[in-house]
Amino acid sequence: MGKEKKLVVPHALFPWQPGKEGNKAEKRFIVAYGPHWHDGGKISTKNYNIVVAALPAVLMGISQYGAPALGVIALSMACAMVWEFVMNVVMGRSVSIGDGSAMVTGLLFGMLLPATAPWWVVLLGTFAAIVIGKQIFGGIGFNPLNPPLLALAMLVISFDGIFDFNEALLNYDLDFAMTYPLANLKAFGTAGIGEFGLGALFMGKQAGAIGSTFGLGLTIGGIYLLLRGYIRWEISLSFLAGIFITALLFNMADSAKYAGPAFHLVTGYTLIAAFFLIPEDSSSPVNFIPMLIFGVLAGVMTVLIRNIGAYVDGIPFSILLLNLANPLLDKIRPKAIGKVVENA
């Protein structure tokens, strides 16, 4: 008897293995580990890194708006974790708050709120984000829409006054113009934004949501996440490029009515969306070309809504719309597994 050939398979999925005599071969399975190497990364590590990356922007918001901002952020994170725990228990699944996903969802949702948001808005918003946005689809990795943005969109449509930053921040008197830049642009055109300097806007000297105004902090956090490999540059940069190009075209068409591209990049929810919201794993594409299309179209939609739509900031709606298109986008030129493209 010659040397016995052993076929090593990654796992025992196959009912039989061909041997010397075809189907009559010995039914021996030699089970081995798959040809993968775990790098030690965990979901919780990723989520805690996102929290660290978001800290500069959050701390700036708390330093500007004080205890109310801290209250919104803390309550939002806590409520998100509580809702996730409740849903785990109700659905009979293992408790998943240890992975940090709910904490990140709560943090990002809190960063999108004004410091004066009532407690019930936080409670309702985190319910929408965790329960409607994530858990009913099966939890982490299964959500088709970005949970914080879904919650924000639902609340903006339902409670307009709370998300009108001019109205929400009436009692704050900080050392810069306390009118919401995008609201001024919408109402008065470029004549209404002359008082805003781009550098000051980028440094967080603008009225807005707690964690969405400090552009420098958000950018540093975003670059950190890019370098660590937690978000994809293709999505973030194409989103910013989509905003830039569309805003530039509008500005070239009518510079009295439409602001320049740089203004759109440093105001509203642009930078938090670019680095913390739109690259979210579950609701964004995984292939190269689809990622670019996804980001660019979201940017285009954002400026279209800002310039000619009904809402002051188009971010939540534009990204949610593209989230819906995500499964279709990922079907564009998918790369076959194992196929080597020699001329690429």
């Binding site: 209250g71 806590a78 708050i97 109402a187």
Partner: protein, 121 residues
């Protein structure tokens, strides 16, 4: 699957954040300023954001209270109350504001006088 240590850490973090959040909402909410900083007037022609502070401080326009508030007011009174500028009063709130705001802006050449420069649609 998360480890037991991560689970315990998450429970602890959630509890601390909940306490911080409740305390901030319940007892650290800032008092509204004695004099308003900005006011939001909601009208059928759009919201108007009025910077009260810049009209009253010395390095702003330095207006006295009586320049606009012609009746002495207490905390419970309202500019748009029935006695002064309610819907059935003369002048109405819109007329009073238009006369007062636009009149002063046009007279002094400071501040907007066109509808679309105040009303945010």
């Amino acid at each position: 699957m998360t480890s037991k240590g991560e689970q315990l850490f998450a429970y602890g973090l959630a509890a601390i954040l909940l306490i911080v959040g409740v305390v901030c909402y319940a007892s650290l909410a800032p008092e509204p300023p004695e004099e308003p900083i900005r006011l939001m007037f909601k009208t059928s022609a759009g919201k108007i954001l009025f910077d009260h502070k810049i009209h009253t401080v010395e390095d702003g326009y330095g207006l006295a209270c009586e320049d606009c508030h012609h009746e002495e007011q207490d905390e419970s009174s309202s500019c748009s109350g029935e006695d002064c500028h309610g819907p059935d009063s003369e002048p109405t709130r819109a007329d009073a504001f238009h006369t007062n705001c636009k009149g002063c802006h046009e007279e002094t050449g400071a501040g907007p006088a066109e509808c679309s420069a105040c009303h945010m649609r």
